[in-house]
Symmetry: C2
Subunit: 96 residues, 2 copies
Amino acid sequence: MNDKQEHIAKRAEVFKALGHPTRLLFVMALAEGERCVCELQKLVDIDPSTVSRHLGALKHAGVVRDDKRGQQVFYSLRLPCVAGFVGCIDRALEER
Amino acid sequence: MNDKQEHIAKRAEVFKALGHPTRLLFVMALAEGERCVCELQKLVDIDPSTVSRHLGALKHAGVVRDDKRGQQVFYSLRLPCVAGFVGCIDRALEER
DNA sequence: TTCCTACTTGGCTAAATTGCCATTTATGCA
DNA sequence: TGCATAAATGGCAATTTAGCCAAGTAGGAA
C-alpha cells in the first residue's frame, strides 16, 4: 500500500470508528468534557466489556485519548471538530 | 427504538458510509464536483458491481445523490462540509 | 431489431464486526 | 492481607460487510 492509500485508510478508520450508534453517543458526550468509563457506561444498556471494546476502537482510530487516574480511566476527545460536522449532518438530513 | 436513538443511528450511518477507503475516496472526488460512475470507476481497481454497491451505500446514508442522464448516472455530494471535517482529521492525525 | 455501453442486482463466499460471558489486571480500602 | 470496584482481554457465536461473477435493465446507435 502506497502513502496516499495509507493516508486515505487512516482517515476512513476515523469515520468507521464514529460509524456506530454507541460510539457516536460516547463521542457526543465527550464533546462536553472528559468522562470516566463508568459514566459512559451509564449512558447505554450494554455489557461493560462491550463498552471497553468500543472505547478501544475510538482510541485506536485516534478519536479519543485515555488517562488513567486511580481506579478510573478518563476518556477525552482528540477531535473537537466532530460536533461541528455532526451539526452539518443534521442540517443535511433534515432537508431530505 | 425511540426518536433520540433513531436520530443517533442516522448520524452514525453517515459516518459508517464514509468509513471505507473506497467510499471516502469517491466522496473526496465528488467534493470537487459531480462525477459519473464511469469516472469514479477509473479511480479504483475493483469490480464495477462493487463500485455500484459502494455508491448505493453512500446514497442510502444521504451522503450523495444520483442523477441519471442518458446512459450515465452522475453522483454529487449532499454533504459539502465533509471536506472541512477531513481537514480537521488530518491535522489531528499529524500531531500524534 | 440488434448490438453496445453504463450501470445495477442476485447469489455466493470470505472476512470483519458486534456482543456476551468468563477471566484477568490494577487500584483502593478495610 | 483480603476484598471490592473499575476496566480490559480471551474466546466464542451471530450478524454484517466486501468482494467477485453472472445475469439483468435501460439508453443510444446502427
